[in-house]
C-alpha cells in the first residue's frame, strides 16, 4: 500500500463517520480537526473502523499520530504493509 492509498482509506472512514463533511479538499499537512467537524468520539470511531475493517490496532498512546492525513499515512502505511 502506498501512502496515498493509505490516505484514501482514512478518508473513506471519515466519510462514513462524518457524512456531512466535504472531503474534496482535505489538506494533508493540516490537522483534521482544524478542517473538519470532528471531535474526540469521532477519532475513536476512526480507531474502531481501522480495527473492524482492516484489523489495524492503534494504541491510545499513538492516537496523536492520527492528527493529520499526512501523519496518518506515515503511521498507518507500515502497519497496512505489515499485514500482507
Amino acid at each position: 500500500m502506498t501512502k496515498d492509498e493509505c490516505k484514501q482509506v482514512v478518508l473513506d472512514i471519515i466519510a462514513e463517520i462524518a457524512p456531512d463533511e466535504d472531503l474534496s479538499d482535505v489538506k494533508g499537512d493540516v490537522a483534521l480537526r482544524e478542517q473538519l467537524d470532528l471531535d474526540s468520539m469521532d477519532f475513536l470511531d476512526i480507531v474502531m473502523e481501522l480495527r473492524k475493517q482492516h484489523s489495524i490496532e492503534v494504541p491510545e498512546a499513538d492516537y496523536v499520530q492520527l492528527a493529520s492525513l499526512d501523519s496518518c499515512a506515515e503511521y498507518l502505511t507500515p502497519k497496512f504493509n505489515a499485514l500482507v
Binding site: I17, P19, M41, K52
Partner: protein
C-alpha cells in the same frame, strides 16, 4: 396555594399514519391504519407501526449516526411542536425551558445492536462501541433534544412503561406550576420497533398480534383480537402557563384540567380494573368534574384478550350513566406506540374541541360483548353535540396507571 393554569400551545408528532397533527387527524377520521410487515432480527417478519418522518429536517447525518432513533423522534417532535406554537427555537429562553419525555424503555435497541455487532467478531468486546453508553443512558431521548435545541434547562425522561406519554405531560405541567421552567416540551416517544426483545417478549407472552392483513392486526374490542402491534412514534407538546400563553397571543389547544397516577400493586403485567377506575376518578376529582362532564374517553386498550375487558370494566364502572360520553381507541390505526401511546392518542382527539367529531375505534368487525361500552364509537366517526373535555387513559406494566383530562380552553 393557587396553581397556575397550564395550557397546550403546540403539538409535534410522528405516527405511523401521519407526521403532522393535520395528516394524523385526517387519517383517524378516514379510518386509515398504517401497519406494515418488517424484518426483525432473529424472528423473520413481524407486524409493526413504523414512522416515515424526515429525520434530516432537523438533524445532520452525523447526529443521526451517533444518536438514537428515540432521540431523533424526540428532536423531530420537539421542533415541530415549537414551530406549531408559533415560535422560533432562538426565541426560547434556554435556561427556562425544560424537556420531559416519557419512555416505556430505552437502551434495548442500542444494546441489542452492539451484541449483534460483536457477534460478528467472536464476541470480542474491543469491538463494542464507545457510543453505547451515551446512547443507552435513560435520559438519552431528552438529552438529544437539549443538545439539538441548545436548551440548558432540565431535560430528562420519565420511565413509566406504556403510561409514559401521559406522565411526560404531567411532569411538564408540574414543573411549570412549580416555577422551575417557563416553557415545557413534554410528551412521550417510542423506538421500540427496532428491538427484537420487545416483540419476542410479547410473543412468548402470547400477546403479539397477527393477521394476514397488517392493517387489521391491531383490533381493540374485537372478539377475535389476538394481541399487540408494536409501534414507534412520538408526540411532544409545548406547555405554558396560561398567562404567558395569553401574553404572547398563543393559539391554545386546550387546558390540562386534571390528572391521576396510581399503581395496581397486583401483578407484573395484568391490569387491575379497580385501580384503573380509581385512577380515572382521581383525575376527575382533581379537575373538579363529574363523569358526565367528559365527552371523550380515549381508552388504552391494546387488543389483548384480558386487558381490553378489564379496562372496559373500569370505564363502565366510572361512566355508567353518561349519555354524552363517547369512548374510543386509537391503536387500531397505529398499533401500540408504547411510551408515545398516551401522548399520540391524546393528540388524535384534541382537534375534537374544534370539529366536534369523535374518531372511531377501527377494525371492530365483531364487537366483543364484554367490551360493548355505552358510547363506544366504532368504525365510523361520530359527530358529538359538543366536546368540552377528554379523558386520556394510559396504563403500563408493573401496574402503573394514568388518566389525564384536557378541557376546552375557556376564560
Amino acid at each position: 396555594m393557587a396553581l397556575s393554569r397550564i395550557v397546550i400551545t403546540g403539538v409535534g408528532l410522528t405516527s405511523p399514519n401521519g407526521n403532522t397533527l393535520e395528516e394524523y387527524r385526517r387519517n383517524l377520521l378516514d379510518g386509515k391504519a398504517a401497519i406494515s410487515r418488517i424484518d426483525m432480527r432473529y424472528m423473520g417478519q413481524v407486524l409493526a407501526g413504523v414512522c416515515d418522518f424526515e429525520a434530516t429536517k432537523y438533524q445532520k447525518r452525523k447526529e443521526l449516526r451517533v444518536g438514537t432513533r428515540a432521540g431523533s423522534i424526540s428532536i423531530y417532535c420537539a421542533r415541530e411542536a415549537i414551530a406549531d406554537a408559533g415560535l422560533e427555537v432562538e426565541q426560547l429562553d434556554q435556561k427556562r425551558t425544560g424537556v420531559y419525555v416519557g419512555t416505556t424503555e430505552h437502551g434495548n435497541v442500542e444494546t441489542e445492536n452492539e451484541v449483534y455487532n460483536i457477534s460478528k467478531f467472536d464476541y470480542d468486546t474491543k469491538f463494542w462501541s464507545h457510543h453505547h453508553n451515551p446512547r443507552t443512558v435513560s435520559n438519552n431521548p431528552a438529552g438529544e433534544v437539549s443538545l439539538n435545541l441548545k436548551i440548558h434547562g432540565p431535560a430528562y425522561t420519565i420511565g413509566a412503561a406504556c403510561a409514559a406519554g401521559n406522565l411526560g405531560l404531567i411532569q411538564g405541567m408540574q414543573m411549570l406550576q412549580l416555577g422551575e421552567v417557563d416553557f415545557a416540551i413534554a410528551g412521550g416517544v417510542s423506538e421500540s420497533t427496532s428491538t427484537f426483545g420487545i416483540f419476542a417478549g410479547f410473543k412468548s407472552q402470547g400477546a403479539l398480534a397477527d393477521h394476514e392483513d397488517p392493517n387489521k392486526a391491531s383490533r381493540p374490542f374485537d372478539l377475535n383480537r389476538n394481541g399487540i402491534v408494536v409501534s414507534e412514534g412520538g408526540a411532544l407538546y409545548t406547555l405554558e402557563r396560561l398567562e404567558d400563553a395569553q401574553a404572547r397571543g398563543a393559539k391554545i389547544y386546550g387546558e390540562i384540567a386534571g390528572y391521576k397516577i396510581n399503581s395496581d400493586a397486583t401483578d407484573y403485567v395484568l391490569p387491575n380494573p379497580e385501580r384503573q377506575a380509581e385512577c380515572m376518578r382521581g383525575a376527575l376529582a382533581k379537575a373538579g368534574m363529574q363523569p358526565n362532564d367528559i365527552h371523550i374517553v380515549n381508552t388504552h386498550a391494546t387488543a389483548t384478550p384480558m386487558g381490553d375487558i378489564q379496562e372496559c370494566e373500569a370505564v363502565r364502572e366510572v361512566f355508567s350513566d353518561c349519555p354524552d360520553t363517547h369512548v374510543n381507541n386509537t391503536k387500531g390505526y397505529i398499533g401500540h406506540a408504547m411510551g408515545a401511546a398516551g401522548a399520540l392518542e391524546l393528540a388524535g382527539n384534541l382537534p375534537s374541541f374544534e370539529d366536534g367529531l369523535i374518531h372511531p375505534t377501527i377494525n371492530v368487525d365483531d364487537l366483543d360483548p364484554k367490551c360493548d361500552l355505552p358510547g363506544l364509537v366504532i368504525n365510523e366517526a361520530k359527530q358529538a353535540k359538543r366536546v368540552d373535555a377528554i379523558l386520556n387513559n394510559s396504563f403500563g406494566m408493573l401496574g402503573i396507571n394514568s388518566a389525564l383530562i384536557i378541557k376546552r380552553f375557556s376564560n
